[in-house]
Symmetry: C2
Subunit: 299 residues, 2 copies
DNA sequence: TTTTTATCATTGGAAATTCTTATCATGCTT
DNA sequence: AAGCATGATAAGAATTTCCAATGATAAAAA
C-alpha cells in the first residue's frame, strides 16, 4: 500500500539526492528511509532511484513519479491547512436556510454583521419555504434554518429570536376607512391579498384575519412580499405586512401602514438546527447576531 | 499525521453514510474505521461528520474536505497506475543521447524499430557532442549515450556496437585525381573541410589525415555533416564521411565517394551507460536494436 | 412503559508496521 | 591496503493499527 509517508521520504530524497541527509530532513534514521523507499519501489514495481557512491539519481520513471508526488503532497498540505485554519465560533463554512418573507429584510443587515464579527465565517444561503428548508436541514444539506415558529420537525433544537408584529398595508388612497388601531375582524377577507401556497405568512395572514374559510377575492398568490405590496399599492387589495419588512417595502411604494390593536398579532422568528449537529455554540452566537442585526438598526 | 488510509476510510464513510457499511467496504472492522475517522477529525481540529441514528451526515467542512480528498485519492491512483503499468525490457521512459554525426542516419531507422519491438517504450532523445552527452549521462539527465568509442568517463559501462568505416567525399568534378583506393597521406590537408570544434569526427578526420599540426584552409567549422557535404559538393574542399552517412548524404549531392585502402580507417560506435543504473538488460536490448537497425537496411 | 434494535464509541490485547541501533558490503580515495 | 562515505541488512523495540467484545444511546416496537 502506497503511503504519504513514503511520498514524503521520497521527496526529501529527491531534494537532497542523499539517503542520509534526506533521512535527517524528515527526522528519521537512514535505514528507516531506505526501507520506505525500497518498499515504494517494490510496490510500484519500478526502480525510482539509482544508488551511487556520488549520491543518488532519479530514474526517468522516478522523475515522473516525483512530479506527481509533489502535486499530491501539495494538495494534502492545502487540505490540512484549509481544514485546520478555521476553528472557533462561527469560523468556516455554515449553510443557512431562510424563509422568503424574512430573507430580504434580514440578510442585508445580518451578513455584513456576521462577516465583521466572525471574519473567518463562510456563509452559504438558501431561500425557500419552511417545509423545503426543514427537509434540507434534516438530510444535512443545511446547518440551520431561520423560519417562523413553531415548526414541525424531529430531532431539532429551536431557539426563539424575536417577535415580528403584523401590520395591515393598503394603498394610501384606499377607499376603505379603517379605524386605527385596527381590530382583526374589521378586515374584509375578500380584499385580502396573499402569497402563494407554502409560505407560512400566507397561513398566518389567513389565521389573523379569521378568514380561513372564505375564498379570498384575489387568489393570485404572489411569489414575494415585494410583488404583493406592489399589488397593494395599485389598490388591488390589502395585505398583512410583518414589521421587519415595513421600512424597506414602504420607502418606494404608495402604501399606508395600519397597526392592529394590542395585543398585536405577530409571528415568532426562530433558529432551528439538528440536535445532533454539535454546533450549539455556533447556533447561540448566530442567534445573538440575528437578534442584534434585526433589532439594532431599527431604532 | 494525516494518512491516505484515513482518507480512504473517510471517502468510504462519505459514500455509504454508515460506519458499519463503510468499514465493510474497506475490509476493516467498524471500530477500526471509527478510530481512524476520529483521529482524522482530531488532527484536522474539526468535526467532519455528524453521528445520527439515522446514519451519518457530513458537515459543511466535511464536504469541503471530501472533495479535496477525492482529488488526492484520484491522483494517487493515477500515480500507482502509471508507475506500475510499464515494466519489462525497454518498457517505459528512456533518455538517449546521440552524437550529431550519428543521429541523422541512425535515428530514422532505430526509432521505428524500437517502437515496433518494444511498444511500451517512451523515448526521449538528445543530440549533442560527446562531452556534453557524457556530462548529462553522469548527472542522471540521460540514461544512455550513443557515441564513438573510446570515451573518457567514469563509472560507466560501454558496449561496442559496430565499426563505421571512413570514406573520402569530394565533388564529382573535383580536379584532384586520387588513386582509388586512397592511402591516407595522399590527402591534401589544406583542402580538408571539418566540423566545428567539439565533434569527435573532426578529431578523427584530422587524425586519419595526419594533419593535426597543419592549419586547414577552410577553418570554417561546419555545424553538421549535411552542411559539410554541401560545401564539398560546391567544390570547396573534401571531407571524411562515415559509411553510415553515405546513402542519405550522397543521394542529393554532387559527390564522389572514394574508399581508403585496407585496413580502412574507421570509428567505433558504442553504447555507454552508468554502471549504477541497473539497466544492463535494457542496454543489451537497446544495443541489439541499434545493431539491427544500423546493419539491417544496409544490405 | 419496557424491550428490542440499530448505531457508533470504547476497551484490551493481538498483529502489523515502522523505527532505531548496530553492523555489513561496496567502491572510491588516500 | 586502509580509510572513508554511502546505502543495505538485521534484530529487537516502539508505535500504530486492528479485531472482538462490550458499552452507550436513542429510536422503534411491543
Amino acid at each position: 500500500m502506497l503511503t504519504l509517508r513514503q511520498m514524503r521520504y521520497f521527496e526529501a530524497l529527491a531534494n537532497t539526492r542523499h539517503f542520509g541527509r534526506a533521512a535527517a530532513m524528515v527526522h528519521v534514521s537512514q535505514p528507516a528511509l531506505s526501507t520506505q523507499i525500497m518498499e515504494m519501489e517494490d510496490h510500484l514495481g519500478a526502480q525510482l532511484v539509482e544508488r551511487n557512491r556520488a549520491g543518488v539519481l532519479l530514474t526517468a520513471k522516478g522523475e515522473a513519479v516525483l512530479s506527481r508526488i509533489r502535486v499530491i503532497l501539495g494538495a494534502v498540505d492545502e487540505l490540512e491547512e484549509t481544514a485546520r485554519r478555521r476553528s472557533g465560533v462561527l469560523a468556516g463554512p455554515i449553510r443557512i436556510g431562510i424563509i422568503p418573507t424574512v430573507a430580504p429584510y434580514l440578510v442585508p443587515k445580518l451578513i455584513p454583521h456576521l462577516r465583521q464579527t466572525y471574519p473567518e465565517i463562510e456563509i452559504e444561503l438558501k431561500e425557500a419555504v419552511t417545509a423545503r428548508l426543514l427537509a434540507e436541514l434534516s438530510d444535512g444539506r443545511l446547518d440551520t434554518v431561520i423560519a417562523a415558529l413553531p415548526v414541525e420537525a424531529e430531532n431539532v433544537e429551536t431557539k426563539a429570536l424575536f417577535a415580528d408584529r403584523f401590520f395591515m398595508a393598503m394603498a394610501k388612497n384606499d377607499s376603505d376607512v379603517l379605524t386605527s388601531p385596527l381590530s382583526e375582524n374589521q378586515v374584509d377577507a375578500d380584499r385580502l391579498l396573499l402569497l402563494e401556497e407554502g409560505h407560512c405568512l400566507r397561513d398566518q395572514a389567513l389565521a389573523v384575519c379569521s378568514a380561513a374559510g372564505k375564498r379570498s377575492l384575489v387568489n393570485f398568490g404572489a411569489t414575494s412580499m415585494a410583488t404583493l405590496l406592489q399589488m397593494v399599492s395599485h389598490d388591488m387589495g390589502m395585505t398583512l405586512i410583518p414589521e421587519m419588512a415595513i421600512s424597506s417595502e414602504t420607502a418606494r411604494n404608495n402604501l399606508k401602514i395600519v397597526p392592529f390593536a394590542d395585543p398585536a398579532p405577530a409571528r415568532e422568528i426562530g433558529l432551528i438546527w439538528r440536535k445532533s449537529s454539535g454546533r450549539a455554540e455556533d447556533m447561540q452566537a448566530l442567534a445573538a447576531a440575528i437578534v442584534a442585526s434585526a433589532a439594532g438598526p431599527r431604532r
